[in-house]
């Protein structure tokens, strides 16, 4: 079985519409991020508490929310989560002292108030709790930023050593494109960006890069073999030669990520969603963005005769 027998699709020729589409999507993502005042950060980064509770008999989301508001909680978020009678309740900082440390009975406090809010005879089982003080939240935010920037910097460095600097920049632009779009989708859908999602971003970076490098590697090889062809043709040929592999690998990775999304359970839902989305975007960007950027750069800046000196 074979998807493509010696394909000759003019990917580089589709550069203009591809760049336009991507630029539009990135713009939409950015606008959404600006309107929402940045990504919707989870308590991992803002501080606060999330309780995953199973309540019997099942109240409505509105009942829980108004009940907690009556108990003088402000800014509580309640969402139905996974199974029928399970809820995720996000509290702003509860039981914090002046330095942002939580007192030991803060959880009990929240649960008691929840019990009061629901009128006393509800059975409440605490399935999971995550609480982060604002101080650690701030630190995690810095760490997450640093890790993404650090990963991108190291990757440029590695590609510069193994290829040339220009490839590194092209690859990074594709990665920034991928991460921005994923962030944008999270922003549009109002999904929270948590530590897990940062892990997903880094995986998307690694994965999308994997794709891009395979194509770059082929470009490097073809540059030596096909000196008579134009730069544009060599790159288009390389993308086509790798096409089967790119699609195949993307499919298998998408299969498993999607499977994780479907049966992996609610705790890992957003993570799997980010991965699945990232695989699609990453595949698209390594075909339509990363390599065409090389052509665009080359045709604008570098004369044809210098080609060999630059890319080998």
């Amino acid at each position: 079985m074979e998807f493509f027998k010696d394909p000759k699709i003019n990917f580089v020729g589709a550069m203009k519409p591809a760049f336009t589409i991507s630029a539009t999507l990135v713009l939409i993502a950015l606008v959404s991020l600006v309107i929402h005042g940045g990504p919707h950060l989870s308590i991992d980064f803002t501080g606060g508490s999330v309780l995953q509770v199973r309540i019997d008999p099942r109240p409505t989301v509105a009942e829980i929310r108004s009940g907690l508001e009556n108990e003088n909680y402000r800014g509580v978020q309640v969402t139905s989560f996974g199974a029928e009678n399970e809820f995720l309740i996000t509290f702003p900082n509860v039981g914090m002292d002046a330095d942002g440390g939580r007192t030991m009975d803060a959880t009990q406090l929240m649960l008691n108030d929840l019990r009061k809010a629901l009128g006393g005879n509800a059975q409440i089982e605490l399935r999971r709790e995550e609480s982060v003080g604002p101080k650690i939240g701030g630190e995690l935010r810095t760490a997450a930023m640093n890790s993404i920037i650090g990963a991108l910097a190291l990757i440029v460095l590695y590609i510069t050593v193994r290829f040339v600097f220009r490839y590194g920049i092209a690859a990074i632009l594709a990665l920034v494109h991928d991460v921005t779009l994923t962030l944008g989708v999270f922003s549009l859908l109002n999904f929270e960006v948590s530590l897990q999602i940062i892990a997903a971003f880094l995986t998307i970076i690694g994965y999308s890069l994997n794709d891009t490098i395979v194509v770059f590697d082929r470009i490097r090889e073809n540059m030596k073999l096909r000196r008579k062809e134009s730069y544009r043709d060599v790159i288009n040929r390389s993308i086509n030669e790798c096409l089967s592999r790119t699609i195949l690998t993307s499919l298998t990775t998408f299969f498993v990520a999607a499977m994780l999304y479907v049966v992996g359970g609610p705790v890992i839902h957003d993570f799997a969603f980010a991965l699945s989305f990232g695989v699609v975007v990453g595949t698209y960007s390594s075909i339509f963005i990363a390599s065409p950027i090389l052509v665009w750069w080359y045709e604008r800046r570098i004369a044809d005769k210098k080609r060999m000196a630059v890319d080998m």
Binding site: Q52, L195, A199, T203, G206, F271
Partner: protein, 574 residues
């Protein structure tokens, strides 16, 4: 077969065998029948046997096993660098000590940075109780033990407080069950004249030590709702004759906590001992002390305490301590005025030890002697130091997962892994046929080796870790796809099968390495910055990348070369 191929085949087989061997304990743990796990809940013998089996299996993270992850912030305001460091270490010691008593298997307590302590309690059933235990700031206090002559009056006062309600209760009970023994007043309670030769004589009478008839004891308890709970032992301890059976400690404490006690007893209070004393007949008792209400000294008066060998007792240990200047002054006066009396050292309202004051201690430097061994002396010294540390601990981060959710997560994660892998396997077989089978073999081996590495290096498997494995499955295929696509290409150039396989592998190797190194960079960053579950993801992802490179570049190559060894072979199923 050439030499290089032999070696590589050998390495592959060895790696697989080692991996399977490394996974045997995990397989054993997984195959414990459900019924037996249920039985373990009630039968401690079965539970400990299963725990032994589980201990050798792959370690599950808190999110799969259930448990609590806490980052605690130690308040270090106003301390200099070395004091702050010492404070951190001491708090860690105290927590280790407390959690030890809490009885969690495999707790992990580590310091993190300059002011934090990370506590991991896997399999914890009651997080609130654990937090309460961790959160109490140790309140160390020194109180004079009241003379035994005052005990009788104090007990009478205590009985008086609860008398009315206990009799009312008994009346209600009697009305409900008329057949019950009448609540009479046993002869023992008749007030006997105080015997000056034996200060405990009156107490002996009050407590009625040998009233074993249950009904009689019940009746006695009605009229002596406090002292009736106690046991009298004259020769067990020099500092107090009063004891309470281990089973009655909570009930007794409830009485002691009654707000009326404070009003009636005024300048004294009862405190129960921290540790039970085990008698030869198997019963466990705790001492009950009558002590001053106002502590003479508190933990903040104490500067330091350390275990030391006891010069008077070969092999024995004692605890030496140093008071602060203020503490030393108070202590000198206190010891000077109370030679021969007992000083109770209590933590959070429970008495740890009540040594006798042998002489005036003017310098603030003293020793506590007793029949301590090394561990007991260290324990007491630690407790003294802990109390000398008036610092606050707050929770900076907490992640708790209930055991039921952990089990759900495992089930879902394993399902996702299973279905995802099946989908990939079917797809690869359809696409590459016989060569696809080689890829599938590599894929399965990859998971086996990856799991074995986790088990052997005692790494922790988390839910994101399972996600990492699943992702590895998807990505491990990539290397095989790269190789197979290359071989197909070489075949199109009309190379012989053997040459095509060789060229395919050597061309693909560079690509695979380059592509995987960049993913490793991302994984390495995650490993460095990630905490808890994220780290679990990074660990499996990184190991998965390495093992997939091994299976793709070494293992499948051996298989492919073996398959195509026959020169005359005309067609490769790819």
């Amino acid at each position: 077969m050439n030499r290089s191929l032999q070696i590589r085949a050998g390495v592959t087989i060895l790696a697989l065998l080692l991996s399977v061997w490394g996974l045997l304990p995990t397989i054993k743990a997984l195959s414990v029948p459900h019924a037996e796990r249920e039985a373990a809940k009630t039968d401690p013998a079965v539970a400990s046997r299963i725990a032994d089996i589980d201990a050798k299996a792959i370690r599950r993270g808190l999110d799969l096993k259930g448990g609590m992850y806490l980052v605690l912030e130690v308040d270090q305001t106003g301390m200099n660098a070395s004091e702050a460091q010492d404070a951190l270490q001491r708090v860690k010691e105290i927590l280790t000590n407390r959690i030890d008593r809490f009885g969690v298997s495999e707790p992990e307590i580590t310091t993190f940075g300059a002011s934090r302590i990370v506590v991991k309690l896997p399999g914890l059933q009651d997080p609130e109780r654990a937090k309460k235990l961790i959160g109490t700031t140790a309140q160390l206090e020194f109180r004079m033990v009241r003379p035994t002559e005052e005990l009788a009056a104090a007990l009478e006062t205590m009985d008086g407080i609860f008398l009315a309600e206990s009799q009312a209760e008994a009346a209600v009970k009697k009305a409900e069950t008329p057949a019950a023994a009448p609540a009479g007043t046993p002869a023992e309670t008749a007030a006997a004249a105080p015997d000056s030769a034996n200060p405990f004589a009156e107490l002996d009478n009050m407590l009625g030590e040998d009233s074993d008839a249950d009904a009689q004891r019940q009746a006695f308890l009605v009229d002596h709702p406090f002292s009736g709970m106690l046991v009298m032992q004259n020769n067990l301890s020099a500092s107090t004759p009063l004891f309470v059976a281990e089973d009655d400690v909570d009930a007794l404490q409830a009485r002691l906590d009654d707000p009326r006690v404070k009003l009636k007893l005024r300048d004294a209070e009862f405190q129960i001992g921290i540790e039970p004393i085990r008698l030869t007949d198997g019963t466990a008792l705790r001492a009950l002390y009558l002590v001053d209400r106002t502590p003479s000294l508190t933990g903040s008066d104490l500067q330091d305490a350390n275990p030391a060998t006891d010069p008077d007792r070969p092999g024995g240990w004692q605890v030496s301590f140093t008071m602060t200047n203020r503490g030393a002054r108070v202590f000198a006066k206190l010891t000077g005025e109370n030679i021969g009396r007992f000083l109770a050292i209590s933590l959070d309202g429970r008495v740890k030890s009540a040594p006798v004051i042998q002489s005036r201690i003017p310098s603030g430097q003293g020793v506590i002697t007793g029949s301590f061994d090394n561990a007991e002396a260290s324990d007491l010294a630690l407790l003294l130091r802990a109390g000398a540390l008036p610092t606050n601990i707050t929770i900076a981060e907490e992640r708790t997962v209930g055991p039921s959710l952990g089990a759900d997560s495992i089930r879902m994660g394993v399902n996702a892994a299973l279905y995802g892998s099946l989908l990939v396997i079917v797809f690869i077989l359809l696409y590459y046929r016989l060569s696809g089978l080689v890829s599938v073999l590599a894929l399965v081996s990859n998971i086996v080796i990856l799991m074995a590495v986790l088990a052997q290096f005692d790494l922790v498997l988390t839910l994101p870790g399972i996600a990492g494995i699943i992702l590895t499955v998807g990505m491990a295929v990539d290397a095989n796809v790269l190789i197979n696509e290359r071989i197909r290409e070489e075949l199109r150039k009309d190379k012989t099968i053997r040459a095509a396989v060789q060229a395919g592998y050597s061309n693909a190797t560079r690509t695979i390495v380059d592509a995987n190194v960049t993913t490793l960079i991302a994984g390495g960053i995650l490993l460095w910055f990630g905490t808890g579950p994220i780290k679990g993801f990074a660990v499996t992802l990184c190991i998965g990348i390495l093992t997939s490179m091994f299976t793709a570049l070494v293992m499948t190559r051996v298989l492919m070369e073996l398959m195509t060894r026959n020169q005359g072979k005309q067609k490769l199923s790819i």
